[in-house]
């Protein structure tokens, strides 16, 4: 009994090993076929690569724009206009107090005199200002908030306006809201474009596999005739799809990295002209893995699509 069981389990093991061996053989042979016809394969790989590179590049642009806006020196600044009767000592103390809050990164107190001097220097209305008896400008506190989301900024401004010494608080929220709207739009665009191009990749691979099936019609008939199961007949085509998808993803990865190198210098100059330090971020390890796995999955899916549609039509006759 025990001997019978061990023989049976060994047979099962042998079959498992043979099955794995066949997968290895098919994987190697299908890759060898692609490399043998390298010119046509490269064409397909390039087409898939370009289709995958487009959304990847858009995605990177989005990530980088997000980074830039995050590190922007001209981050949102809230201006608090203080009441006239607040002394400069009280004003500075108040600025210190605000600075300790969690929602605030830093503050800067500008007295009424400093404000007037700055105005004279920048506006070119120096003489007009000199002729005034009183300083018409209030003291202000410039607040740099710790957050940049429009919704949370609105709450912070409302809270500050309620403070004792403050007459009003103001900030140009518009540009931040616009930037966020643009990023939101960009994310949608990447998702939509990604979906369209993924569908395109699916069709490219499906069509290529369909041709491969057509080319090997005789072979499929013979294999079915000597007892090949559907899984057995399908296997080489699924591996073909895998190699197309993975190869395309690697080309896409190269295209993205080359485009970034090409863009890096001008972007650097542009950012520096705003007085900022910024380095462009490319595809990280995770993102690269996502690209490669995604490409491979698309390849296998495209092959499945073609195989399920066309393999049933081919029967020995």
């Amino acid at each position: 009994m025990a001997a019978g069981a061990s023989v049976r389990s060994r047979r099962l093991l042998d079959r498992g090993r043979a099955w794995l061996g066949h997968h290895r053989t098919v994987a190697r042979e299908s890759l060898a076929t692609l490399l043998r016809n390298w010119l046509t394969s490269t064409m397909t790989w390039l087409a898939i690569g370009i289709a995958l590179a487009l959304p990847a590049i858009l995605y990177l642009i989005l990530v980088n724009v997000g980074n830039v806006s995050g590190e922007w020196e001209g981050k949102p600044r809230i201006t608090l206009y203080l009441e006239d009767n607040v002394s400069s000592v009280d004003g500075k103390a108040f600025a210190k107090e605000i600075e300790d809050r969690e929602t605030v990164e830093s503050t800067h107190y500008v007295s009424a005199e400093e404000a007037l001097d700055e105005f004279k220097a920048l506006s070119g209305f120096g003489e007009v200002v000199d002729s005034l008896d009183d300083n018409p400008l209030p003291a202000v506190i410039i607040v740099a908030p710790a957050v940049s989301e429009p919704a949370r900024l609105k709450l912070i401004i409302a809270a500050l306006e309620d403070e004792n010494h403050v007459t009003s608080a103001s900030m140009d929220l518009k540009w931040i809201e616009r930037l966020y709207a643009i990023i939101g739009f960009g994310q949608r665009l990447v998702a939509a474009l990604g979906a369209f191009l993924a569908l395109g990749v699916l069709l490219i691979i499906g069509n290529t596999i369909r041709l491969a099936i057509e080319n090997r019609r005789d072979e499929i008939e013979v294999v079915k005739l000597v007892g090949g199961t559907d899984a057995f007949v399908r296997r080489p085509f699924l591996y073909l799809g895998l190699w197309y998808g993975l190869g395309g993803a690697i080309i896409a990865w190269l295209l993205v990295q080359i485009s970034l190198m090409f863009l890096a210098a001008p972007v650097q100059r542009l950012v520096q002209s705003y007085g900022n330090q910024f380095s462009i971020s490319g595809l990280g390890v995770t993102e690269s893995l996502v690209l490669w796995t995604g490409g491979s999955i698309l390849g296998v899916l495209g092959a499945l699509l073609a195989v399920s549609r066309h393999l049933h039509e081919i029967e020995p006759h």
Binding site: R15, R17, A18, E219, L225, V226, G227, T229, D230, H317
Partner: protein
């Protein structure tokens, strides 16, 4: 092993290839199927392989009622039936070894076992040492032997052949037929379709004659009388 029970096959275009065919081939038996081309020989073999399905009647092969076999069960049937065709059905971009090994690879044999069995099958058909050659470099008779090696490498209990000597000269044809005879002697059930009446009669085996879709067994004594 094979039993046909009132089997008819009509094709979509309306021609009746087989009509009310009944016959039985026992385990370990060997028989020939004769008749003019178009008499329904190929159709009958195709029904056994489930390359076609009967329009009427029942076909039993290896104990299974083929009418009840689903599409998914077909590979299992086919891996138990070796087939040899007139046009060989070889893969011309694969070596002789790969061609013969195909049924074993499908059945999931390990590489070492595959090698042993392929060499045994090739030696049986007299093609030892031709493993690495491509079928296109072989003669017609040798290609047919590769086809036979592929059909028997899996040691199937049933072997079918459709005009296996169609393109060969008389001497080669006789050698091929004798090969089938040898397989039968080690227990394989064999059914060979052939229009070469002289050759079939000289083999002195059971013979079924198909004529316009109708089958009739010709007694062995009769064929001997006709031959002499």
């Amino acid at each position: 092993m094979i039993r046909f029970d009132q089997v008819s096959k009509r094709y979509a275009e309306g021609t009746e290839a087989l009509s009310r065919v009944s016959f039985e081939l026992a385990d370990g038996d060997m028989a020939f199927l004769t008749g003019h081309s178009g008499a329904g020989k190929s159709t009958l073999l195709k029904l056994i392989m489930l390359m076609e399905r009967a329009s009427q009647g029942q076909v039993f092969v290896l104990g299974a009622n083929l009418n009840r076999l689903s599409r998914r069960q077909i590979p299992r049937l086919r891996s138990n039936v070796g087939v040899v065709f007139q046009n060989h059905q070889l893969l011309f971009d694969r070596t002789v070894y790969d061609n013969v090994a195909l049924p074993l690879t499908i059945s999931g044999y390990q590489a070492r076992e595959v090698g042993r069995r392929v060499r045994a099958a090739l030696s049986k058909v007299g093609l030892s040492g031709k493993e690495k050659k491509y079928p296109i470099t072989l003669s017609g008779g040798e290609q047919q032997r590769v086809g036979i090696a592929r059909a028997v490498v899996n040691k199937p209990p049933l072997l079918l052949a459709d005009e296996p000597t169609g393109n060969l000269d008389p001497d080669l044809s006789r050698e091929i037929m004798e090969l089938f005879d040898q397989f039968n002697q080690v227990g394989v059930t064999v059914l060979v379709a052939s229009h070469d009446l002289d050759l079939v009669q000289s083999m002195a085996r059971r013979r079924f004659d198909l004529n316009e879709g109708r089958i009739e067994e010709v007694p062995v004594a009769d064929t001997d009388l006709q031959a002499h």
